[in-house]
């Protein structure tokens, strides 16, 4: 247990003291949590913020693959929690982007490997290391792993697909954020929620076959951070182990770039929410 935390000069300065903890969560699996966590944390680091992305999906580690560092994993989050490795031994420094670190999940099948005290200790230690942002990539579901990932969060990215089960599960996870996070339990300011709609297909929205962004916003009623279109670039990026935000020629890469800029306070109009002109002509004459 870490009761005594060393106070440094830097810590006394409220501006630099606060590392923000952001959970990327969704309830439902396969909606793009890890893709989003990888792109988002890479984007934050590209803006010069010291960022670490933590994989909370114990037993089903995948962030390492998406980030392209799977062959450099030696120690993981569970090793650090169980004092089998130091934090610095487990942190993997990204080879492309400065200021970016990955803390991989363990492949253990032990469900109880994570515990709140351990997670808190790791987060505190990361704060001591001057990280600006700590991004927690949540596992799917609403079980222990997902609850650990969101418990200490200051802000949350709710990744939602325009599809009924995803929207419903997002609402569930919002309920958990509002009742079972540390902020909720301690009566502090609530976790700041951001909606991130992924796999959006404007053409199918137009033809009435897909929930629109307005529909989803009506139902979930939380602020929209961004919309990422369904894009072949996402699969290509995961094939290559390079977060899609690095592919700035792609629609998805640009959309994530907007997401990060908006998160950091910049105002950017939504893109990729309308059918492109060529697409429309193709539909009419194709």
């Amino acid at each position: 247990m870490h009761r005594c935390i060393h106070r440094t000069a830097k810590e006394l300065d409220p501006e630099t003291l606060v590392a923000k903890i952001i959970v990327v969560t969704s309830g439902k699996g396969g909606v793009g949590k890890t893709t989003s966590a990888a792109a988002f944390s890479t984007g934050l680091a590209m803006h010069g913020h010291k960022t670490v992305v933590i994989d909370f999906d114990v037993g089903l580690r995948n962030l390492d693959l998406i980030m392209g560092c799977e062959r450099r994993v030696v120690y993981d989050l569970i090793n650090v929690i169980h004092d089998e490795a130091t934090l610095n031994q487990a942190l993997i420094r990204d080879k492309r982007i400065e200021n970016l670190y990955i803390l991989p999940a363990s492949q253990t099948r032990d469900k109880d490997a994570l515990n709140l005290e351990g997670v808190e200790r790791v987060l505190e230690e990361l704060k001591q290391q001057d990280f600006d942002f700590i991004v927690c990539d949540s596992p799917a579901g609403i079980e222990q792993g997902a609850q650990m990932a969101l418990y200490f969060a200051d802000e949350a990215l709710i990744v939602t697909n325009p599809e009924v089960s995803s929207v419903r599960d997002s609402d569930r996870i919002l309920g958990i954020l509002q009742s079972k996070s540390r902020r909720a339990e301690s009566g502090a300011e609530p976790v700041k929620e951001h909606l991130l709609i992924t796999r959006y297909h404007p053409g199918r929205v137009n033809s009435g076959d897909m929930l629109s962004m307005e529909d989803i916003l009506d139902i979930l009623a939380i602020p929209l951070l961004g919309i990422v279109p369904e894009s072949p670039a996402v699969l290509k990026a995961s094939n290559a182990g390079a977060p899609v935000i690095l592919d700035q020629k792609s629609d998805a890469g640009q959309a994530y770039d907007d997401v990060v800029a908006r998160f950091l306070g910049e105002e950017r109009p939504l893109r990729f929410i309308k059918v492109e002109k060529r697409g429309l002509l193709n539909r009419l004459f194709g």
Binding site: E163, V167, D171, D209, D215, I219
Partner: protein, 88 residues
């Protein structure tokens, strides 16, 4: 134009359907969210007691917790249905 509008109105898109279904299910789930875990069991017990006297279906008992200002109110609605419509 009028004819065109007529065609459009008749058709409910699948996305509209999705939205309506979601609104209903989510409002139910939100209402149940703050309520105690024992509610489903309490409902079963109440059903059992009522069934000693009157045959009813599960959905004829509605049980929920409402927040009224600072107070929590347990609301119980039992519909007995009428004999003629064969609900029991």
């Amino acid at each position: 134009m009028g004819l065109f509008d007529l065609f459009r109105k008749q058709k409910t898109t699948s996305a509209q359907l999705a939205k309506e279904r979601l609104q209903i299910v989510i409002s139910h789930e939100r209402a149940a969210r703050g309520s105690p875990d024992y509610l489903p069991r309490l409902k079963q017990d109440i059903l059992e007691v009522i069934r000693r006297y009157h045959a009813i279906a599960d959905e004829q008992v509605e049980l929920r917790v409402d927040k009224d200002g600072g107070r929590e109110v347990l609301e119980l609605n039992v519909t007995l249905g009428n004999e003629a419509d064969g609900t029991h």
